[in-house]
Point group: C2
Chain length 445, copies 2
């Protein structure tokens, strides 16, 4: 029954979208993406294992072997769906402006003098460069999954995938101005400032940060996909706010964002079904890169990259919190996954041994302060520090809320991500009002 209803709804939405918004067809294609991914994953899993793409699930009794890198299926289906989406996104322009016979329709300038019955080539190249960027990121993610690249190589990998996006941004938009907060304006005597190449450096760091931050906040079943889905929903809520209450000028950006994110949610939901506890497949680096890049692309081309970064607060916290171990101020074991206890099937915080390998001397007092603030759990032998919990958000959650089962832990982190995101969206619009004298949502000057 469900098998028939879902495709029918998808078909209906896609057909009806012609007369309405591209967002409607994106919802339809999101369902198509869900169905296709859900159908493919169990069918290709064994082929992945056969060519050596498998991993051991460390937090299960017996450490079962399951397919790894299955996120590549989601990414591939997503790309195909986005191709098929193109005619529906440009339907209303297409019919009126391709007269055939080799005569190409003219283009419109956004908010320009020519009116909207001409073909928006600029929008098409924006859309194509986004897909190109996501496809390149997936390709590099697959290379990483296959060849197990070194950490220092893979860290910068997403930036290579982002090249098409940045280059199209460069030749096609070239906007590198940011608004100056009201209270700084009298002091610097300008309302906006041209960051020039620094704006590109900022965009590059965004494309490196988003994928890697999702890749780092990982290690328990369903967390990579789960956080991506929550991030997607939060971004959609932000888009919905703008589409419902924002000024007309911002509609295009947020419609674009919704069209990119909706099919992403579809393919991710199907992957979540197979990756959530108890996981039947692993997602692999491909998915983390791909998912992170979806948000980077939307943030950059939708011109709300700062809001996007606010949604990544838990990931940012996780990264900053990890730094002492990443930079070897505190010894960093090979894996920092929570420790699975065979006896009660619960996860306990994993610990770094500080007895044999002591932390840097100047960092010891800081560790004690963190321990006092309950941001870490230290184990003492007399006055000497013997071990500390590994510095990841996952372990911290276990320190705070005690040992728990893997799925409960994942859900806890996802709920946390959701509410922090909601708070961030509210704060952002309140702060916008405070810093710039107006917020672009309510358009109060």
């Amino acid at each position: 029954m469900f098998r028939l209803i879902l495709p029918s709804i998808a078909l209906l939405l896609i057909i009806c979208s012609n007369r309405h918004s591209a967002v409607v067809s994106a919802i339809g294609f999101s369902i198509v993406g869900y169905i296709a991914t859900d159908w493919l994953i169990p069918r290709v899993g064994q082929s992945f294992v056969k060519i050596g793409l498998y991993g051991k699930d460390q937090s299960k009794p017996g450490k079962p072997v399951i397919p790894e890198s299955v996120g590549a299926v989601s990414a591939t289906v997503y790309l195909l769906v986005m191709f098929l989406c193109i005619p529906f996104m440009f339907y209303k322009y297409m019919v009126t402006t391709t007269p055939g016979g080799g005569i190409r329709g003219a283009s419109i300038e956004e908010n320009g003098d020519l009116t909207g019955n001409l073909f928006p080539h600029g929008k098409l190249s924006e859309y194509l460069s986004s897909i190109l960027c996501l496809e390149s990121t997936s390709l590099l993610g697959i290379a990483d999954d296959l060849f197990d690249l070194r950490w220092r190589h893979k860290f910068f990998l997403p930036a290579i995938g982002a090249i098409p996006l940045l280059i199209v941004y460069y030749v096609d938009f070239g906007a590198t101005h940011v608004l100056v907060p009201t209270f700084v304006q009298p002091w610097v005597k300008m309302t906006n400032i041209d960051l020039g190449w620094m704006y590109y450096a900022y965009m590059v760091s965004m494309t490196i940060f988003c994928p890697n931050s999702i890749n780092i906040l990982a290690g328990i079943n369903g967390l990579e996909v789960g956080q991506s889905i929550v991030l997607g929903i939060l971004a959609l809520i932000n888009d919905a706010l703008y589409l419902a209450m924002g000024p007309n000028a911002s509609w295009e950006s947020h419609r674009f964002s919704a069209v990119i994110i909706l099919p992403f949610l579809g393919v991710s939901a199907a992957l979540w079904k197979w990756n959530r506890w108890p996981a039947k497949v692993f997602v692999g680096d491909t998915y983390c890169y791909f998912a992170g890049m979806v948000f980077a692309v939307v943030g950059i081309l939708g011109h709300f990259s700062k809001t996007m970064l606010l949604l990544f607060l838990p990931q940012i916290f996780n990264f900053v919190y990890s730094c002492p171990q990443l930079f070897n101020l505190v010894p960093c074991p090979r894996h920092r996954l929570p420790r699975f206890n065979d006896a009660d099937w619960l996860l306990y915080p994993s610990r770094a041994n500080l007895k044999d390998e002591p932390p840097k001397a100047f960092f010891k007092p800081i560790l004690r302060v963190l321990h006092k603030l309950k941001l870490i759990d230290l184990e003492f032998e007399g006055d000497k520090i013997v071990s500390c919990t590994n510095m990841t958000l996952i372990n911290l959650a276990l320190v705070w809320f005690g040992p728990m089962r893997e799925d409960k832990l994942c859900n806890l982190l996802l709920v946390l991500q959701f509410f922090i995101g909601i708070a961030a969206i509210l704060t952002r619009h309140a702060l916008g009002l405070l810093l710039f004298g107006h917020d672009n949502l309510w358009a109060i000057v």
Copy 2:
């Protein structure tokens, strides 16, 4: 010395291109592609072997194991180079038309009223959709190399990769008219005919044919890359003819074609260096698909797909010639590679055993005719056919010219391809004059 000169020339060409044609920068990037591919291949080869991507070279003593699917390196470098090429292709438009501050430059209509100082978004989306198509094709080729897809699946694979191209063609151009030959015009009473969806079917078959035909004409060291290089050079010669002597209207198409093909020749030349006899790497299906799609893309978007098919005459012959075995009228062994003779290191035509598995009865007389025409070599026992040479162009060359060493055979086939192509280009323009009353090269009406 050579190591310094080559990068310097590339740099010089790329820098100088700003004031000249995009073709100049494409030559520069072609050298960059060559250097990068040539640097990468020996460094990544062992990683390919490690993850199971290797093959046995059947036509060498001892059948050495060498890396397979290394064409993926060429494809990846090509895509990166094409990304970096974008600003140089659009340099002259970019500087004058992106005023910054979020104001997007207007677009021009080709041959339209607005003059050339506005940004050509239409061209950018054309370019982006080509790269997208080539990247999708490479991705599917990699999937094929990894998972060893079934023949009936992989045959249609390139068509999936071509979806972005066809969809952008659909929304952005939509031209489905073809010219009617002069002598038919009075009869059908029109000068051109709208093929509608049949034109799309034609384009799809082109994207299926080109990659697969290169994939089928394979099996000896260097042949896949070699024929692609020859095809590329032939297409460039055709482009050069148009750019030098053709009407202005065709310049854009042939400049586009040259810009796509030049970097392709760069990455292919590097691959050829490693894949030619005695091969140190195999190219894999990825390369065949990718190379075939380059020609399909250029033919379709450059609007000279029929000329392109003429260049593929040896591939078309090879396909038609293979049909009796492909459709099992004559038994088809698992491999149809020429037989390597350990004693004299020469290749001999391989044969299908017709004693145990006789061909279809109605086909026997045809085999005898083909034997008479020297298009096949039959072996008799009395009056009974015992075996026949396998029906591939490679075996046919061995039947005609006698056993020879692998590299000589490859060179022979490449020279054949080149001269047939040159003849085809000449014939095409002579025929154009004959069929349409004028040829678009000399623009004689």
